[in-house]
Amino acid sequence: TVGAVAVDSDGNIACATSTGGMLNKMEGRVGDTPCIGCGGYADNKIGAVSTTGHGEAIMKVTLARLILFHMEQGQSVEAASDLGLAYMKSRVDGLGGVVTVDPQGHWAARFSSPQMSWGAAQKDTLHYGLYTGEHFTQRIDLP
């Protein structure tokens, strides 16, 4: 699964997620990705989330919308992402990852699985990582 969330200069927010699904899935099996509120959700008033992981678990907790509910209650993008992932692990023993952004441009890339490749761009800096705790940066040449 791959995905992205963005806030443009006008403050409009969007998300996109795409996947081949689960390894050796049954023919016709559809996971979380195309389900609104599960594979992704975007609202200019709250933020946006794109999710990845065990689709059946993500659907049971509607992970993308759950994280935004936490943000509506005042949690930061990072805390809300961790709360959503922790609930999915404790409630249905599911692993996954998310990228999350809020209308002010605060962002997070969080995951409960062993790894998740992620990248972010803001101002003139490219951020990226793969293993838990990694956060590398590079300069982005401005156009």
Partner: protein
């Protein structure tokens, strides 16, 4: 703080020998999407550009490089959502399309529905002039190897794909 773009290449178990390509792939996708934002483009254009780039990269489980179903075939899902209007478009179990995320955006922009699936999505793609591609072009040696490995009766595809707690 604006504009900002954040991308992921999938959570789970990424073998060491594939980690470098995975990291390079997300960085390249971020640069492609962020260039749109820096040029004044919309967040929707940026996320579709970034995800399209990852669909075209065989290192990721989407588009080319998708995992195979139990019959050894590729069925893909995608979604887009616009935070301004709460508009959304999705496709599920779609086959032989190089960029399902672009088809999902067409569902949002050109229909009154939220999701089209399987044969309906394929017919919509044809009506929109989206070319089909041979299924073989979406299958990589790696995805075929993992498919075969997980056909064994005692295999655990979910654990193979997701790994254990990070």
């Amino acid at each position: 703080m604006l504009p900002v773009l954040v991308v992921h290449g999938g959570a789970g178990h990424i073998p060491k020998e594939r980690s470098e390509k995975s990291t390079a792939g997300v960085c390249s996708a971020v640069r492609a999407g962020y260039a749109i934002l820096q040029g004044g483009g919309s967040s929707m254009d940026a996320v579709v550009e970034a995800v399209s780039e990852l669909e075209n990269n065989p290192s990721f489980n989407a588009g080319c490089g998708s995992v195979l179903n139990v019959k050894g075939e590729v069925e893909m899902d995608a979604i887009v959502m616009d935070g301004k209007t709460l508009g959304s478009g999705a496709v599920s179990a779609v086959r032989c399309i190089a960029n399902p995320v672009q088809l999902a955006r067409l569902v949002m922009d050109k229909t009154s529905h939220a999701c089209l699936t399987a044969e309906g999505a394929t017919q919509f793609a044809s009506a929109m002039g989206v070319p089909t591609v041979p299924q073989e072009s979406l299958i990589t040696e790696y995805s075929r190897m993992r498919w075969k490995k997980n056909l064994a009766p005692d295999a655990n595809p979910v654990e193979c794909q997701m790994g254990k707690m990070g």
